[in-house]
Amino acid sequence: MLGKLDWSVIPFGQPIPLIAGAVVLVGILAVLIWVIVKGHLPYLWHEWITSVDHKRIGVMYILLASVMLLRGGSDAIMMRIQQAIAYQSQGYLPPEHYNQIFSAHGTIMIFFVAMPFVIGLMNLVVPLQLGVRDVAFPTLNSVGFWLTATGALLVNLSLVIGEFARTGWLAFPPLSELSYSPGVGVDYYAWSLQISGVGTLVAGINLVTTVLKLRTKGMNYLRMPMFCWTTLASNLLIVAAFPILTATLAMLLLDRYLGFHFFTNEAGGNVMMFMNLIWAWGHPEVYILVLPAFGIFSEVVSTFSGKALFGYRSMVLATMAICIISFMVWLHHFFTMGAGPDVNAIFGIASMIIAVPTGVKIYNWLFTMYGGRIRFATPMLWAVGFMVTFIIGGLTGVLVAVPPADFMLHNSMFLVAHFHNVIIGGVLFGAFAGFEYWFPKAFGFRLDERWGKLAFWFTFSGFYVTFLPLYVAGMLGMTRRMQHYDVAEWRPWMIVAAIGMAVLSIGVICQIMQLVVSIRNREALRDRTGDPWDGRSLEWATSSPPPVFNFAFHPDVRGEDAYWDIKIHAQQQSLEHTAPEYHDIEMPRNSPTGFVCAFFATIMGFALIWHIWWMVILGGIGAFATFVVFAWRDHDEYVIPADEVARIDRINLEERRSLVSMAGAI
């Protein structure tokens, strides 16, 4: 009746997951009770859970990413402590638990922190930058978000019901095959990624279509803000790469569930095929993450230098070059596995070539800053911190792209240091920069600068104290994922790294403090004009937060830096008070489809993990029925009357006029 499920799957004997699970459960219950008692439930349901507004969905993506960042960060703290004390001893984490933690850490940080964070920012910003009212497929957007949340939920469920994978974040066979991982850990891993992968694919299709087909009048390709270009490149990669992940995990699952022989050691299965397939997805994946971050830095650097982006066209070219070359380097993840010198040389060279367009970008950012009037607001700090950090990470990357060097460094702590160097220094710093930069747009008030700067400096310095020692440990021969070790030379570096982790944690606390302080002082930090940073692209042309329809009129774009042009134009024209004629606006109606669909996906995923077949069928029927009900509805849009549009738009126009006239007076 309940498949493999019984009371023995709850880890009563292990205090750490049990306590962590209990704390999370109590937290969730407390929030739920608070929401219900305060009567916020209808508001949440109507305004957020069922919302198909790209801005709301973007915010929910970022919220999910932030919560999961805390979870993945806790895993990281536990690992650093373990390696600091597990010298000639077992430390405090038993091996099977330690292995789950590093697997969960990687899986969570990539799939449920980095991905939702960048997808959230793209969702929030891209339609605004393109000057349109929504993404191409609003309801599908909501489905995509909720499926991602389902994946995150399943991963967290594994904490208390059963176990997570002990195979590392990519579950290499034959270790991940049923014969070596008979538990449900790999199934949790695979099914949560399958479900959230569908969500990611949906988001990718949606954003590609949005950028290519929904741009306001005059928004030619070469007038799009850089963030739109990197969004396009990143989502093209999602569309091309995520199906590979889906297929690969499907093969692994077929091996595990139905005794197939894709990657087994027996009957002709081929383990190397898994390596090729998973990295044919995995390498583009890192560019899926970092390209949007490049876009964020382009926006931030240009805005806070008060200049147009230097070398816009070369930036576009570099972005698209990275988009293509990223598909031609996957083999550098397994140089040591005997593909032969010719193949290794080709992929080594391709990997080094990809540093060229990246270098172009770095120089473009530097030249944008050169001669600019730079304001070191928090987003700009993250951007400058990124440039320094990412260059170091890029250089060590070029180093491991040399096959002979890679033979020495493969699977060592050096590699761990390298990819944290680029992912934290690139993606996470980018996400934080974007968070600080667009927060006023999303919520209508700025974030506290003092706490923001503290957060930056603690995170920045904490990062170096944590990860530079790992380079050294790698050079000293320490391999990754060690539960304990006996080499005395490694110990001091592990202790330094643990101290660095403490500094990093202070950075996280500062970030939380920043949020708390800013929400308290929100009236003082209020952004009335919608343009708090003196921005250059169209998201700043509407109020903060924008009305549900974003723009009363589709803006007419005449060049690069669309909003900058509008502002210059407005000042020169000394703002004659034209009375525009407003029209009714049709917007898509909210829909619970995404939430209900994810509800059934959760049931189905859970049932698949635990082999509860009747529940699988039930979940499948439920999901199909949800779509039929959605397809059957008669009214999918509602009308915002012209008067209402006019009322909302005039408030913002007044605020903006007063700002521009003040600027004119100066």
Binding site: G204, G218, P243, L254, V557, E560
Partner: protein, 213 residues
């Protein structure tokens, strides 16, 4: 939405390259929907390409089990191919009928498409059942694993297509040829045709090339 492009100068062309065609603004819903669905189909084809690649890698790994030439029956495959290609034609007829809002020909075209799809699935199912009963199931060898997965994946797509087809007919019956229903019909037709294209690949790579191994 008018798709005429206006031509601008000066502001539009900061680098003085020449005339710049102004982007006319957001595309219509019909175009956006079809475009998005095309992008989805491309991603689906990428997924199939992984199974094709797996088949190519594993085709000779028979683990002393049967080879492709020993288990493939070209006659059945020929009938399957005819069914699918014909169904694409009838699906096209149904699309045209939907465009001119002719219910009779729409239902007829869809019904014939459905029957042809079901015949295809039945033949495939019998092929699979026969192999399994002879002990040549997907667990027998890596070759059979790849074969069952690739062909089965296509079969699952056809099954999903039949389910979609029936839903589509029900929706036309209940809602008529509404704009959103017509957009969905367009997507369904794209999906059905794409399955044909995949089948041409399956036919060539699995049954023709696979017989030679």
């Amino acid at each position: 939405m008018s798709m005429t492009a206006t031509v601008g100068r000066a502001h539009a062309d900061p680098h003085h390259i020449g005339l710049v065609v102004e982007h006319p603004g957001p595309a219509s819903k019909r175009i956006v929907t079809a475009y998005g669905f095309w992008v989805f189909l491309l991603s689906d084809i990428v997924m199939f390409s992984c199974f094709f690649a797996a088949y190519a890698v594993l085709v000779s790994q028979t683990a002393d089990g049967p080879k492709g030439s020993e288990i493939f029956e070209q006659r059945n495959v020929a009938i399957e191919t005819v069914c699918l290609l014909l169904s694409s034609f009838t699906c096209g007829m149904a699309s045209i009928a939907a465009d001119v809002r002719n219910r009779f020909w729409f239902y007829l075209g869809m019904a014939v498409t459905c029957v042809l799809g079901l015949i295809f699935l039945l033949i495939e199912f019998r092929e699979f059942a026969d192999l399994v009963s002879r002990g040549y199931g997907p667990s027998r060898s890596a070759f059979l694993t790849a074969f069952f997965s690739l062909v089965g994946c296509h079969g699952l797509h056809v099954s999903a297509g039949v389910l979609w087809l029936l839903t589509m007919m029900a929706q036309v019956f209940a809602k008529g040829f509404r704009a959103d229903v017509l957009r969905r019909m367009m997507c369904f037709a794209l999906f059905w045709h794409a399955l044909d294209i995949i089948w041409v690949g399956v036919f060539s790579v699995v049954y023709l090339l696979g017989s030679g191994v």
